[in-house]
């Protein structure tokens, strides 16, 4: 294919000044390029589409740890532990520093919130004939800041176990596996 020097016009639909006619106020679109761009956008967005939506809304300043071997997060009540505060389903339980400094294990407000949530789950299970007689799915997602000391997480875990949530998932950011040396 022959190579031509580029024309001075950047867009053939925009008239040049010296063409004699009145300057048009309309600029034409390159439809082929636009449709190509739209198609690429749609493909990219479809690939990154997640039907589950956003399962955890991270509080400001919370940094999750990175891990390689991870699974898909499921919908469950979220217990978030940031450097500032501890929250359960968006309700503030206490300040992280205060809970970290306390010598006692129990966090009464957290236990109350978890027990209330469990009671709600049990009521829902009783009302549902399909779930009647089956154990309730008592799982929680724990999203904790990676820079925290384990002392705080441990207290949170123990209180969750005490309130009937011994099965939990740590929320992490997935990272790719390191390349193996040949």
């Amino acid at each position: 294919m022959a190579i031509y020097a580029p024309d001075r016009r950047v867009n053939p639909t925009i008239r040049r000044k010296n063409t004699g006619g009145r300057k048009s106020v309309y600029a034409g679109l390159f439809l082929t390029s636009m449709v190509d761009m739209f198609a690429i956008l749609v493909i990219f967005l479809l690939q990154s589409f997640d039907a589950d939506g956003e399962l955890i809304v991270l509080p400001k300043g919370l940094e999750l740890p990175l891990a390689v071997n991870t699974g898909t997060l499921q919908r469950a009540p979220v217990l978030s532990v940031s450097r500032e505060k501890i929250e359960f389903e968006g309700i503030e339980i206490g300040r992280t520093l205060e809970i970290s400094a306390q010598t006692e294990w129990p966090i009464p407000k957290l236990q109350e919130a978890l027990k209330a949530y469990k009671a709600k789950l049990e009521l829902e299970a009783q009302a549902d004939p399909l779930k009647a007689g089956q154990p309730i799915d008592a799982k929680i997602n724990i999203s904790a800041d990676r820079r925290l000391q384990f002392q705080v997480i441990k207290k949170v875990i123990y209180n969750a176990s005490y309130a009937g949530f011994p099965d939990f998932r740590f929320a992490v950011f997935g990272k790719s596996k390191p390349a193996e040396n040949p």
Partner: protein, 155 residues
């Protein structure tokens, strides 16, 4: 109609080309882009599963949850994480203390000894002053070896 197909009917050969009506096509693409942009999840969060361990007897002995085993759990290995390193115990016998770089080699050795189907019960416990990121790192290393029976607690 979105696509106009030449019906032919003339004297010439029937055309195989069809003409796409671009306006509804662009409308559809725009709606798709808007929908996908609005529902896009930009931060993908994953999970690491674990169970809590009733090692804090003072707390767990008063637990109202019957599903928690209050007796000392049976486990094959104890991973005790401290700021100085990770101590591995097998049936209560210390195998050594390893820093995070040595840990991987030791775990590979345990896996090699156990075989491919080896899935031991592991109790992962951490000291108070250990950073949560390090606990997740050790947990990740355990899952990397295909070991899934992990309980998490403190000491």
């Amino acid at each position: 109609m979105g696509v106009s197909i030449d019906q032919g009917g003339g004297k010439g050969r029937k055309s195989v080309d069809s003409e796409l009506n671009l306006i509804p096509f662009i409308d559809l693409l725009s709606v798709c882009i808007l929908f996908l942009l609005m529902t896009a999840v930009w931060v993908h969060i994953s999970k690491m599963s674990a169970f809590s361990q009733p090692s804090g007897e003072a707390l767990i002995s008063h637990s109202e949850v019957s599903s928690i085993n209050q007796a000392k759990e049976e486990r094959d290995y104890d991973f005790l994480i401290r700021t100085s390193g990770v101590e591995i115990k097998q049936d209560g016998r210390t195998l050594g203390q390893f820093d995070l770089t040595q840990l991987e080699a030791k775990m590979d050795q345990i896996k090699k000894q156990g075989g491919a189907a080896f899935d031991p019960k592991i109790s992962l416990r951490s000291a108070d002053d250990v950073v949560y990121d390090d606990v997740i790192y050790v947990l990740d290393q355990i899952f990397t070896r295909g070991w899934t029976k992990v309980t998490v607690g403190g000491f």
